[in-house]
């Protein structure tokens, strides 16, 4: 058997053996994170002060009731299909509920953005590269989109025709800029052996500052006190179709994201480039034997990852803001959680993004309804990653239910055990 076939066989066995296990571990990690999150909610309910205890356990009153928090969270994310304030365990359905509501639009908005950043992280992780820089790639890609649209819009006929020309171009520009910014750590990794974890994190800081300077010094909106670009005309942005105006969700963007999921899957699984990318992540030595140009694959993978992050920024600008504004939300970091939860599988990114989108949108309802700060999602984000990173923990837990023992590290997919990246 040739080296290439050999590597292929290894790959097939790896993916087949661990697919079910991956899903199980993601679910288990989620449940553990929710449980630990519940403990944190309880404890923080002792720190804060309130008039009446929300719940009483073991004779002690707590200001926050974790069960209520999670109920309000999911209910809020779906736009209140249940009347959670009514007494009893089984909550009655809300007769006024409409699936095209504000809360659900918010959830889908977050989901759409997370699909892009999740895909971005997934592509790099599949290549065995820890791209933590999706955030920076998104910030600069988004800015490029906003500036391009702003300067080109006056040259085009306004209205539908202009939008059809401008929006795709603006997304491409965002992808290019994000991709080039992602290629920098790729090149540093390939040609200078600089650890991409550190370089991408440094580049996140640099991107935020550069974007801030560009907007505050050169391209800012003169009529605004905030550091932001001039708002784009409505026809140049992605407007909500069926969902309410304030939700900032366009079903077109979601459709584009889903199409990208299929495209990335096809690229990774069905093309020779994708094969090179995956082998250099999973079996670097086999890839070398198989004749893969490791340096070029590294740079290209990072470009691709950055381009997806840049598109995320473009969609954030075109769908959510209608302009670029300083203080970009941490979508890139959330993308890490989404990708890890998805086992770095493009199709897995969709449910993972939906779940995390639900958490993010529901957290607003939680803050409003129960007083628990919305920063809770930040804690859950870290906890989920932590638990997915330790499949061994669940194997030990699950050894009583006789889970098949499998020694592969699930989270990285790369199979490159951390340190040899340095």
């Amino acid at each position: 058997m040739s080296a290439t076939e050999n590597a292929k066989a290894v790959l097939r066995r790896l993916t087949a053996a661990s697919a079910t296990e991956r899903i199980l571990i993601s679910f288990a990690a989620l449940i553990m994170a929710v449980l630990v999150g519940a403990v944190i909610i309880l404890v923080s309910g002792r720190i804060t002060t309130c008039q009446t205890a929300a719940t009483t356990l073991f004779g002690t009153g707590f200001c926050y009731d974790p069960v209520e928090v999670y109920l309000v969270l999911f209910n809020g994310a779906l736009g209140e299909p249940f009347l959670v304030n009514s007494p009893g365990i089984l909550k009655p359905l809300n007769p006024d509920w409409n699936p095209l509501n504000f809360g659900f639009a918010l959830t889908l908005k977050e989901t759409t953005l997370l699909i892009f950043t999740g895909l971005s992280v997934a592509v790099s992780f599949r290549a065995g590269l820890f791209n933590i820089g999706t955030q920076g790639q998104l910030v600069l890609g988004g800015l490029a989109t906003a500036l391009f649209s702003f300067f080109v819009a006056p040259l085009l006929p306004s209205g539908l025709v202009g939008g059809l020309i401008l929006i795709p171009l603006a997304v491409v520009v965002g992808a290019l800029v994000g991709g080039l910014y992602g290629a920098i750590p790729g090149a540093l990794k390939a040609y200078a052996d600089a650890n991409e974890v550190i370089t991408t994190i440094m580049l996140n800081f640099i991107a935020a500052q550069i974007a801030f300077v560009l907007v505050s010094e050169f391209f800012g909106n003169p009529d605004s006190q905030v550091v932001e670009t001039t708002p784009l005309p409505d026809w140049a942005t992605l407007l909500p179709v069926a969902f309410p105006q304030g939700g900032d969700f366009s079903i077109l963007a979601l459709a584009f994201g889903l199409a990208l999921v299929v495209a990335v899957w096809f690229l990774l699984e069905q093309t020779s480039f994708g094969y090179d990318l995956r082998t250099s992540g999973e079996q670097p030595e086999a890839a070398e034997y198989g004749g893969v140009d490791a340096k070029r694959t590294t740079v290209t993978s990072m470009f691709l990852s950055g381009a997806l992050g840049g598109m995320g920024g473009a969609i954030w600008v075109l769908m959510v803001m209608g302009k670029w504004q300083a203080g970009v939300p941490a979508l890139g970091f959330d993308g890490i959680t989404v990708s890890i939860l998805a086992g770095n599988n493009p199709f897995g990114v969709v449910p993972a993004a939906l779940l995390f989108g639900t958490l993010k949108s529901g957290s607003l309802a939680v803050q409003f309804g129960t007083g628990v700060p919305k920063q809770l999602v930040g804690v859950l984000r870290g906890l989920i990653i932590l638990f997915v990173a330790m499949p061994e923990f669940f194997r030990m837990l699950g050894s009583t239910i006789d889970l098949e023992p499998d020694r592969e590290t699930v989270a990285t997919d790369g199979g490159s055990l951390g340190g040899d990246d340095e």
């Binding site: 550190i198 800081f205 801030f212 906890l383 951390g418 340190g419």
Partner: protein, 367 residues
């Protein structure tokens, strides 16, 4: 790889470092020359900033969290566990130190210990607990060290602002109205410029003790030998009857302790925890990783690199206060990060401990 190749690699590494150090020195000399020649120009300002005592003292203060985190990183990675989570350890200790002081009451003393020092130790304790969690996850449950480290960072990045919001209603804590203060050594502190070393934050003195102490522990004690062996050749260590897992736990816990000192000193030096965006830690944990790579895992070298990065930061802060430049502050603020990138690109080929990042299986599953 043959010995000669390794030697050649070592030589290039050394020359990289020498080039960098030489480069930094020649940039300084260049500025000094121009500054002396044209005292009223921008170069004169640069020179004034670089040679002012207040820049030195703020560079020392700023290097405290980076140096302590770097020392911690050295122990952990030398023992074979890559600790990417240093940033998270700094965040959690910085926050815990402030909130503990606030809860005790900033002006209280307990058992003769001022509240701020209780906060200081609580910060260290929180960091040690976090690193213990990280150690268990990595060593007992064989997690991928990079991802577990990222998780530690992200949990701290979420938890500190969350807890601050629960307690204060906002991501920043209130100002304590008190800080660690300064310890002034009489006479010595009157020396021009270098007097900054003797009129400093208590944490600066701790740092100046911790750096040589770490070097000594790592290079001259049995424990240090075990740590190094655990990262380079765990099998050999196992063979002579030393428990590799225990050494690794010790290394990671020590990194939590050291990073905790840095984090507590960071927030208590200011009297407040700032929690928006990347929090007040703002990448210092990651800069620390680059500092010890640059210092080639030598505590003294890591301190030198930390001091260089902190010096850039201090100069950058002073530069913002000089009027009359068209350079935007935000651009100047990128200088330390860009320098870190350049340094990493140039010394990227560091030789990390042989077994770092890999799980060591003793074959005995009950550890």
């Amino acid at each position: 790889m043959s010995t000669t190749t390794i030697d050649r690699l070592r030589d290039t590494e050394l020359s990289y470092r020498a080039t960098l150090a030489g480069g930094a020195l020649s940039v300084f000399l260049f500025i000094a020359l121009l500054g002396l020649a044209f005292p009223s120009s921008i170069w004169g300002n640069f020179l004034a900033i670089l040679t002012s005592r207040s820049t030195l003292s703020s560079a020392l203060r700023l290097s405290v969290p980076i140096t302590f985190a770097a020392l911690g990183g050295i122990f952990s990675e030398k023992a074979g566990v890559v600790n990417i989570g240093l940033e998270g350890l700094l965040i959690i200790s910085a926050f815990t130190a402030v909130i503990t002081t606030a809860v005790v009451g900033p002006e209280m003393t307990v058992l003769g210990l001022p509240a701020i020092w209780i906060g200081f130790f609580a910060g260290i304790l929180s960091s040690v607990l976090f690193s213990a969690l990280f150690a268990v996850v990595c060593i007992r449950f064989k997690a991928d060290q990079i991802i577990a480290g990222l998780a530690v960072w992200l949990i701290a990045l979420g938890l500190a602002p969350f807890a601050a919001t629960v307690y204060y209603g906002g991501v920043n804590t209130d100002n304590l109205g008190t800080t660690l203060g300064t310890w002034t050594i009489p006479v010595l502190s009157d020396i021009p410029f270098f007097g900054a070393f003797f009129d400093a934050d208590p944490a600066v003195y701790m740092m100046l003790v911790a750096v040589p102490a770490s070097w000594y522990v790592l290079n001259r004690t049995a424990f240090g030998r075990h740590v190094r062996a655990s990262g380079e050749n765990p099998k050999a260590l196992d063979t002579v009857g030393v428990d590799v897992s225990r050494v690794r736990y010790a290394g990671v816990l020590l990194s939590g302790f050291l990073a905790g000192v840095g984090g507590s000193a960071l927030s208590l030096g200011l009297g407040q925890f700032v929690g928006n965006n990347q929090t007040m830690v703002n990448g210092k944990g990651f800069i620390a990783i680059v500092a010890y790579l640059f210092g080639n895992y030598n505590p003294v070298g890591a301190f030198g690199a930390s001091f260089l990065f902190a010096g850039l930061e201090a100069a950058q802060i002073r530069l913002q206060q000089v009027p009359g430049y068209a350079i935007p502050d935000s651009l100047i603020q990128t200088i330390p990060y860009v320098t870190v990138l350049v340094v990493l690109a140039l010394v990227g080929r560091t030789r990390i401990p042989e077994a770092a990042g890999e799980h060591y299986d003793t074959g005995d599953d009950n550890r």
